[in-house]
């Protein structure tokens, strides 16, 4: 067990968020059970007022989780010097088997939180609250994620023993190794760049198509999600190499270090925001057939997709800057 203020803070956040989500879900279930929009009874009025509390709780939890995600990575980066073999967050996440799942869960909570808040936002604009049951039902799906994250993160922190020799990113993100990380690193940088360009173009095209034609919001979400995954792959297989100016260092975390000018944050933050908004737009797209949402969804989607595209462009600009500004020349090696 390693105790530092950041770990304490992360544990507290997870615990408090789990409590709040439990409360929100509990209230949500009551709302689902007794909801009757047509009734003027006092019970219905109480229900409606509860929805304000629930959305405040969820929005606050989501904000806290967002900050916690950043702190989690930052802290892993900071304490990497305390573990033999760890040189960045990768090594710290490898300290015990719970590190990576915790990170994945945090990301999953981030995205599902974004989707939920989008649904909530849209629903609050329609006079009959058509999504009440859907969104409070969805809380039932998010709650296990939050609780799992609390449990896994606790086990992760408890399992941190400074005597452990962990494996660093150099041995994990290497084309010769085994596992997903190695597979990702093994992808030809040329291929990765090509994929990144194609998927980015596809996302921007579908997004543009929506802005003009009000059609295929789901297509945008799908292409954006694909772009997100491909972008992660491209960072590992190619973009990071240019930041390190090092032809074989594939780590997706070392780019977060001060020595590399915190480039990772400039890459990941726009990428995550763009993806979160795209997922939100995708989640509301199929609801456009609901009468009371007919007007609202296109307007909201347009905003979401527009901002999402802006952030995605930002990501591409940062990536291009990283590649073009680098001293690494790999022209003969890759293409």
């Amino acid at each position: 067990m390693l105790l530092n203020p950041a770990i304490l803070a992360l544990s507290i956040v997870s615990f408090v968020v789990a409590c709040m989500m439990l409360l929100a879900t509990g209230f949500g279930l009551q709302v689902v059970r007794h909801w009757d929009i047509g009734s003027g009874s006092e019970l219905q009025l109480t229900m409606e007022r509860r929805t304000y509390l629930i959305s405040t709780l969820v929005a606050f939890s989501f904000m806290a989780e967002l900050v916690a995600l950043l702190l989690f990575i930052y802290n892993a980066e900071q304490i990497s010097s305390q573990f033999v073999g760890a040189m960045c967050a990768t090594g710290v996440l490898n300290v015990d088997p719970y590190g990576w799942p915790t990170l994945y869960l945090k990301i999953a909570i981030f995205f599902s939180g974004a989707v939920w808040l989008t649904l909530n936002h849209v629903d609050n604009k329609a006079r009959d609250y058509p999504l009440v049951r859907v969104k409070y039902g969805l809380l039932l799906l998010i709650l296990p994620l939050v609780i799992a994250e609390l449990v896994l993160q606790t086990r992760y922190f408890l399992g941190m023993d400074p005597d452990i020799i962990t494996s660093c990113c150099g041995s994990l993100f290497t084309p010769e190794g085994q596992g997903v990380a190695a597979e990702l690193s093994g992808v030809e940088p040329g291929t990765a760049m090509l994929l990144l360009t194609v998927s980015g173009a596809a996302a921007l095209l579908t997004g543009g198509w929506y802005l003009f034609q009000r059609k295929s919001g789901i297509a945008f979400a799908v292409t954006s999600l694909t772009t997100f995954l491909i972008a992660l792959l491209a960072i590992v297989s190619c973009v990071a190499l240019y930041i390190y100016e090092h032809p074989h260092h594939h780590c997706p975390f070392c780019i977060l270090k001060e020595g590399h000018d915190f480039m990772g944050y400039y890459l990941y933050i726009p990428l995550f925001i763009a993806t979160a908004m795209a997922l939100g737009a995708g989640a509301i797209a199929p609801l456009r057939n609901i009468t009371s949402l007919k007007e609202i969804i296109p307007a909201e989607s347009r905003q979401l997709i527009g901002v999402s595209m802006l952030f995605m462009l930002l990501f591409y600009l940062v990536a291009a800057y990283a590649i073009l500004g680098s001293n690494l020349t790999m022209v003969e090696v890759w293409w």
Partner: protein, 377 residues
């Protein structure tokens, strides 16, 4: 978007004026809140500064100090031990040290007398620390006279005053020549207070210490890292105690914040009712209350942190000097080096603002759902 930002500005505007309209209640909250931040920040800044001060003190000290133990007590060590220990791999330098404490009844303070290795002093010469110069009111060229244990008085001509980055290191230091030191304290030739060893590679320290205890069983090696760790442990432990005490305070604060947020006066309740009746929506009220919390949190944080900063670095942490420090009495001008750490600031922010915000969510919501038609009844 523009309307949204304008709306937030209206809300903040209203919140500010509503805070100012109830100075009593909000001032109380602000004071308590700032006090919490102040206490936590003081402890953090103080222990952190002390720790880095200790690090600074120890930076120049040798990696290993070897003391001879007689009947469990520190005794003089013969210089012959330097040969007796033989060659130990990893040790790149070793020598004997002469130093000791001297109580000066004139100012009721302890001095550290030491024989320097890096400078040659004449028999009656002495180099003194700045604090001694200050308390004894001497300057270069003046004479200092001390009465030794054998009853004789010895005079020292002050040839220089030590300037130092950190007063902790040199404040009470007097450097004297070896001959004078030996006569003053009555230490025979060939004996030293302790021996010091320089080891280049910190990874080898433990092994060297192990070999020393095997070869010279009547000695005790003290590692610099150990001293550092002891300091760290002591500071951590003391910080821990203070934090445990403060946890209670934070809890009390959370309850206080909850109470403040939920205990709306009739006047406030009426105000929220009016706002809702004339067209404010529940979420507008929640947002307004959120801004209220943010304004209070930020000002309390700023206020508390700045006072703590002044308290620790300008007022010498007067409030918990007795709890957290244990240095000698000779530090009237003791100043800690100001230091701000981003992560520390963020942690502090988290430990104060997060509990406050969580504690106020439900009360805020309760206030915001006031019936709009209350004003009609």
């Amino acid at each position: 978007m523009k309307a949204f930002i304008r709306k937030q500005r209206y809300l903040i505007d209203f919140t500010l004026s509503s805070l100012l309209r109830r100075p009593g209640k909000n001032l109380g909250l602000l004071v308590v809140y700032s006090l919490i931040v102040f206490l936590l920040a003081s402890v953090m800044l103080f222990t952190h500064a002390l720790r880095s001060e200790a690090r600074l003190v120890l930076a120049d000290s040798p990696e290993i100090i070897l003391q001879r133990m007689v009947a469990g007590r520190h005794d003089l060590i013969p210089g012959s031990y330097l040969e007796k220990m033989g060659r130990i791999r990893g040790v790149i330098g070793k020598h004997g040290r002469l130093w000791g404490y001297f109580y000066d009844p004139a100012v009721q303070a302890n001095y550290t007398l030491m024989v320097p290795r890096d400078r040659q002093l004449a028999e009656d010469e002495a180099v003194i620390g700045a604090a001694i110069a200050r308390t004894r009111g001497v300057s270069r060229g003046d004479f200092l006279t001390f009465r030794s244990t054998d009853g004789n008085a010895y005079s020292f001509r002050v040839s220089a005053i030590l300037a130092s980055d950190s007063e902790l290191v040199s404040a009470d230091l007097i450097l004297v020549s070896e001959q004078r030191f030996r006569t003053f304290f009555g230490i025979p030739e060939g004996y030293y207070t302790d021996l010091v060893l320089n080891v280049r590679n910190p990874k080898e320290l433990r092994k060297v210490a192990e070999k020393l205890t095997l070869r010279l069983p009547d000695t005790r090696p003290i590692l610099r890292d150990e001293i550092l760790r002891t300091y760290d442990a002591i500071f951590n432990w003391r910080q821990g105690i203070v934090f445990v005490l403060l946890t209670g305070t934070i809890l009390a604060f959370v309850i206080f914040a909850w109470d403040k947020a939920s205990g709306l006066s009739a006047e406030e309740r009426r105000e929220i009712g009016i706002l809702k009746a004339i067209g404010w929506e529940t979420s507008d009220v929640i947002r307004m209350k959120f801004w209220e919390g943010a304004i209070i949190s930020l000002s309390a944080f700023l206020l508390g942190y700045l006072t703590a900063y002044g308290h620790v670095f300008y007022a010498n942490a007067g409030l918990f000097e007795p709890v957290l420090k244990g240095w000698s009495v000779l530090y009237p001008e003791f100043r800690l080096t100001p230091f701000i750490d981003g992560l520390q600031l963020a942690t502090l922010f988290f430990f104060t603002v997060f509990p406050y915000t969580v504690a106020t969510i439900v009360p805020i919501w309760r206030a915001a759902i006031t019936d709009p038609d209350t004003v009609m009844r």
